[in-house]
């Protein structure tokens, strides 16, 4: 959120040129590295204190890896991440532990994210034990009850095991665990994707309520555009390991400035039947190129309906677009800005993934 006095946003988490590259290894005993999978490839992103930032993009575009890298749950291979001013990539043991208290994570599949052999109380109390919060059996038990109540569960269920709960209830337990250390920042990694639709709404509203009640900063990772639009203050769009458009939720939703965002938004069905019938869909051709063979220049150019001359040669940088302040996109349609590239990158032939080829 923008602080009213200065107008400059108060940044809690910030990524600059963040890269997470995984080596692609051949099988066999020698395990030679045969390539690089660029899951996150030069991401610049700010999360403002107190906001909900929605991160959207199709499967495999690196959303989850980015969320994990911001918390150093996946080690970044390049670039920097700062959390409240501190460099996350250079944190020592102790600082890292404090980061883990201040930044929580809610996972996609509530059936996988809770240890089946531990009771709800044990799961929710884990952060308390790790960080030495609320010492003493009584105090911990009281805090666990409080947390369960906070996420809308009956505190009487503390002694139960996860398999006795429904998906929505388990996800509430996961949220309670993430909140136990009183974090400032919560990464919700597809937190509603594997829930029933009716339960999705409940959990979504729970997250909104908690955010307001506790003053949380939320990174809401999802491929569900309507959910993201519902909860987010700002939206960031990711494509093939790069953030390609960021802006206020209303601006990105109403006037997307990058062809990929437009295509993504046009895929959302409309509830009104008449509007739905007249909805113009932009259907992208071809598949997403493999993150181990990223096209040169603009990485969206192989599927872009508006591709033109500079696209293969200049890697576009984020630049101000549209009318809303803080709305940026990486697209040459708004002026050619970016870094010129060698077209002959060894791991990215010019025609990689070209659907026309």
């Amino acid at each position: 959120m923008t602080s009213p006095s200065t107008g400059a946003p108060d940044v809690l988490v910030s990524a600059r040129g963040l890269e997470v590259h995984f080596p692609v290894r051949s099988g066999g005993a020698l395990r030679r590295t045969t390539g690089l999978l660029r899951a996150v490839d030069g991401v610049d992103l700010d999360v403002h204190r107190g906001e909900t930032l929605g991160l959207v993009g199709e499967s495999g575009c690196g959303k989850s890896t980015l969320g994990n890298a911001l918390l150093r749950l996946v080690p970044p291979t390049g670039g920097t991440v700062t959390f409240d001013g501190a460099d996350v990539t250079r944190m020592g043991r102790r600082e890292l532990r404090e980061l883990r208290r201040r930044a929580g994570m809610v996972f996609q599949d509530p059936f996988a994210s809770l240890d089946p052999r531990r009771t709800v109380a044990q799961t929710v109390a884990e952060p308390l034990e790790v960080h030495g919060l609320h010492p003493g059996r009584q105090a911990r038990a009281a805090r666990v009850r409080e947390l369960l109540q906070l996420v809308g569960l009956d505190p009487g269920v503390a002694a139960r095991y996860p398999h006795e709960f429904s998906g929505g209830q388990r996800q509430r337990v996961g949220i309670a665990r993430a909140l136990a250390g009183e974090p400032d920042f919560l990464v919700c990694d597809e937190a509603i994707a594997s829930l029933d639709v009716s339960v999705q709404a409940q959990v979504l509203n729970l997250l909104r309520r908690l955010q307001r009640q506790l003053g949380l900063t939320l990174l809401f990772i999802s491929h569900d555009l309507s959910a993201v639009r519902h909860v987010s203050d700002r939206i960031a769009v990711m494509y093939l390991g790069r953030v390609v458009e960021v802006g206020p939720a209303s601006a990105v939703a109403a006037e997307p400035q990058m062809p990929y965002t437009r295509a993504l938004l046009s895929a959302v069905p409309l509830p009104h039947p008449q509007l739905e019938r007249s909805r113009q869909r932009i259907v992208l051709r071809g598949d997403v190129p493999s993150p181990s063979r990223v096209p040169s220049g603009c990485r969206f150019r192989t599927r872009c309906p508006d591709v033109f001359a500079p696209c293969p040669d200049v890697d576009p940088a984020l630049q101000p677009v549209g009318s809303a302040p803080g709305h940026v996109a990486a697209c040459h349609l708004h002026g050619v800005v970016g870094t010129p590239v060698e077209r002959e990158r060894p791991d990215a032939p010019v025609d990689a993934g070209d659907p026309a080829a």
């Binding site: 883990r100 599949d109 994210s113 531990r118 952060p127 269920v157 002694a159 139960r160 398999h163 250390g181």
Partner: protein, 312 residues
Amino acid sequence: MTQLPTPGATPAAPPPSEPLPTAAPPRPRWRETLGLLARNPTAAVSAVVLVLIVLMAVFDETLAPDGPNDQDPSLQLQPPSWDHPFGTDEFGRDILSRVVLGAATSLRVGFLSVAFALVVGTLIGLLAGFYGRWVDDTLMRLMDVLFAFPAVLLAIAIVAIRGAGPANAILAIGIVYVPIFARVTRASVLGVREEVYVRASRSVGASDWRLITRHVLPNAAPPIIVQTSISLAFAVLAEAALSFLGLGPRRPNPSWGLMLADGRGFIDQAWWYTVFPGLAIVVTVLCFNLLGDGLRDVLDPRQRTLMAGGGR
């Protein structure tokens, strides 16, 4: 804009279609485990039999009708009778007494060698599986070297270096089983390590040690428990093999394996000589296996609820 429930009030009560589980009885976990085990008839019977065998081993001197080495040349290789229910051996010794007295030796060798293999092997498997990379490579290649030797040959080598005797037999059998536990544990850990709940636990700041002891080991345990029960069985047999080769407990003191080995020479004249020590081994080994299976089920919370709910 969504309706926000007022903070403080218990918000967003789940719809009635999702009944919340009722509060658990405040019974200690181990009591509950024992209770559930008692409802599994096979495991319960096995446990009782094993307790009896252990008691027999502990009070062997009191229980045995004769001394283990009381010879009576007039009673050589007598078939089972009221005086000697299990018959006698080639020196006229009472086989029942020797089976009772041999229990202590066989069980001690079995328990201690498996305990050694369990502790060392599980630790190696945990480290190799959890840390991967060079830790995995180093430890597991070492295990491969141990595995490459035929078990008996390795045991003979160890006993040859350290000298014969029960203590070294235990060590030898223990070392032979270390790689098996290491492999079983590692394989199990490799699966558990990737579970989301391990990552979730890391995300709240849990240390490696905590991850390993609180999450990885308990979830990787079932195959290890089963392996333990199987190994106890094999260790009793291995003790027999080593004794047979003169590398374990020494004659004339009885052990089941030794008796089996000695009886082999008379199997066409005196079936009871091998059958009764053999039965003792079979019953013990079978009980270990059945108890292991039962334990594996009972230690799984999902099975637990099923059993507690539909329990007989």
